[in-house]
C-alpha cells in the first residue's frame, strides 16, 4: 500500500545506541581533542571552509558523540594545510585529529 509518506527517522543523537568505539579510541589517542572549547577559530581560518560547508569543529564533535555517517567525505575535503592547527587556542594537533579520524573511519588501508 502506498501511504504517500514514510515514518521520519529521529534526528536526535542517541547516545545510548551510538557505537562509541571509534570515538573512545580517538580520545584515547588524542586526549587534547576533548579540550576543544568550540571557539570555531579552526573553521574561520579554514581554506576548505571558505569554499565548502566543511567544519572541523562540527565533524569532530559529531565523532565524539558517536555519529560518523558522512564524515569521511567531509574530512576528505581537507587540504591538510595546517592553518587550523596554528590558530587553535587549546593546542590541538588538528591535522593529527583529521588523519586519525579519517584512518578510523576507513580511509586508509
Amino acid at each position: 500500500m502506498s501511504w504517500g509518506y514514510t515514518i521520519n527517522r529521529a534526528r536526535d543523537i542517541d547516545m545510548d545506541r551510538n557505537d562509541m568505539t571509534i570515538s573512545k579510541l580517538i580520545l584515547e589517542k588524542i586526549p587534547s581533542l576533548q579540550g576543544c572549547i568550540a571557539c570555531g577559530a579552526c573553521v574561520a581560518t579554514c581554506s576548505t571552509g571558505a569554499l565548502t560547508k566543511y567544519s572541523l569543529r562540527k565533524v569532530h564533535t559529531l565523532v565524539r558523540r558517536g555519529e560518523y555517517s558522512g564524515l569521511l567525505d567531509e574530512l576528505n575535503k581537507c587540504m591538510l594545510c595546517g592553518k587550523c592547527q596554528l590558530v587553535c587556542p587549546r593546542g590541538i594537533n588538528t591535522r593529527a585529529v583529521i588523519s586519525l579520524i579519517k584512518r578510523e573511519l576507513g580511509d586508509h588501508r
Binding site: 534526528r11 536526535d12 543523537i13
Partner: protein, 335 residues
C-alpha cells in the same frame, strides 16, 4: 570601647567581618539563625580549584572567633531590621551602632525545575547532595567497579527566567567541573557529561581546572541545556538536550543526574528590604550602594553588607568583603 556592631549571619563573610572588627578592638555580635557557625561551608567537601578541604578554611575562622571571644548568638533569626537595631524571632530587640548584613544566599530549590524530576526520581540529585555524599565517601547507586554514566547539568536555577533567576550564580561552572573530576576519581570507569550553556571560568586557576577535566579526566562537555529528564524502566534517567555545537537534539540514559543548583537570593532579603534604603535587584539580591566603590555599603549609613547577600560570590570574595565591610564599619563608628 562600647560601640555595638551586629553581624547578621555567621557564614564565612560574617565570621571574617567579626574577626576583622574584633582585631580592631570592637566586640561584634554574630546573629546566626542555624545552630552553628560556618553557613553553607559546613556542607561542602572540597573547594575548587585547589581541592582544599572546606574545613581547612572554616576551622581557622572558627578558631579565631573563639580566640577573639566574639559574641555569637546561634539559632537566632532577625525578624526586623532597623538602622540602629534588630529584632529577633524571640522578640528581643538589640540596638547597635552599625549592622553588617552577611545573611548569604539560599541554595536554589531544584524542585522548581520540575522537568528534571528532583525529589521525584531517585537518581536525580543536586550538587549540594553530592557534596554531602562526597563527605560520606560514596555516591548513591554508583558502583566503583562497573561503568556508569553521569550527567552534570549546569545552570539549574541560574540564568532562567522561568524560575525568576535571571542572574548567573558564577561559581557553579567551576563547581561542576570540580565535582566531575571528583566523581571521575571516585568512579574511574564512569563516563561524565557536563551539560552547559556557557562555561564561565572567572577565577584564578579555574580555566586550568576546566582544561584538566577535559584532557586529563576525559570529561565530556556538551553545550546545551537539558530540557527534560525522565525515569526509565530500570530506574535510570533519560535526558534530552540539544548538542548546540552540532545543532541536533541529543538524548542519553544516565545512572545519575546531578543538578548544579545556583544561588538564590536569601529568604530574609525581602524582610530586610522593608527598611528604607535597602533595595533588591531583579533576582532578589540586595543592591549595594555602588557596585564599584561602595559594594559593602547600603544607602543607610549604619548598615553594611558582606558576602553573597548582594550577589553570588565565591568564598575568597566573600571573605574579602568581610574585611572590607569591617573597615567601612570601623570608619563609620569612628574607631
Amino acid at each position: 570601647m562600647n560601640k555595638e556592631v551586629i553581624i547578621i549571619g555567621g557564614g564565612v563573610a560574617g565570621m571574617q567581618c567579626a574577626i576583622s572588627l574584633a582585631e580592631m578592638g570592637v566586640k561584634p555580635t554574630i546573629i546566626e539563625k542555624s545552630d552553628k557557625l560556618g553557613g553553607k561551608l559546613n556542607d561542602w567537601y572540597k573547594l575548587f580549584p585547589t581541592f582544599t578541604s572546606a574545613s581547612e578554611v572554616l576551622n581557622p575562622l572558627k578558631d579565631m572567633i573563639n580566640e577573639l571571644g566574639v559574641d555569637v548568638k546561634l539559632s537566632s533569626e532577625v525578624t526586623k531590621l532597623e538602622p540602629k537595631s534588630v529584632t529577633l524571632a524571640d522578640g528581643t530587640t538589640m540596638s547597635a551602632d552599625a549592622i553588617v548584613i552577611c545573611s548569604g544566599f539560599e541554595v536554589f530549590d531544584a524542585r522548581l525545575k520540575e522537568e528534571y524530576g528532583y525529589k521525584i526520581y531517585d537518581n536525580v540529585i543536586t550538587s549540594v547532595d553530592l557534596e554531602r555524599m562526597f563527605c560520606e565517601g560514596s555516591v548513591q547507586n554508583l558502583d566503583k567497579n562497573s561503568p556508569s554514566r553521569i550527567a552534570i547539568l549546569h545552570c539549574v536555577g541560574s540564568r532562567d527566567e522561568k524560575v525568576c533567576q535571571t542572574h548567573c550564580s558564577r561559581v557553579c561552572c567551576v563547581a561542576g567541573v570540580k565535582q566531575a573530576i571528583e566523581l571521575k576519581e571516585l568512579y574511574p570507569k564512569s563516563e561524565i557529561f557536563n551539560f552547559y550553556m556557557d562555561i564561565r571560568m572567572f577565577g584564578c586557576g579555574y580555566e586550568e581546572l576546566y582544561k584538566e577535566a577535559q584532557i586529563k579526566h576525559n570529561i565530556h562537555f556538551v553545550r546545551g541545556r537539558i530540557s527534560e529528564a525522565a525515569q526509565t524502566i530500570d530506574s535510570k534517567i533519560q535526558i534530552k538536550s540539544e548538542d548546540t555545537l552540532i545543532g541536533r537534539p541529543l538524548k542519553m540514559t544516565v545512572d545519575l543526574l546531578v543538578l548544579m543548583v545556583g544561588m538564590s537570593a536569601g529568604k530574609s532579603n525581602n524582610s530586610f528590604a522593608t527598611t528604607d534604603g535597602i533595595n533588591l535587584n531583579t533576582s532578589g539580591f540586595i543592591s549595594p550602594k555602588n557596585i564599584f566603590t561602595e559594594c559593602v555599603s547600603s544607602d543607610v549609613d549604619s548598615i553594611f553588607y558582606a558576602g553573597t547577600v548582594t550577589a553570588p560570590k565565591n568564598i575568597g570574595e566573600s571573605i574579602t568583603e568581610g574585611v572590607a565591610a569591617a573597615h567601612k564599619v570601623a570608619k563609620f563608628i569612628k574607631l
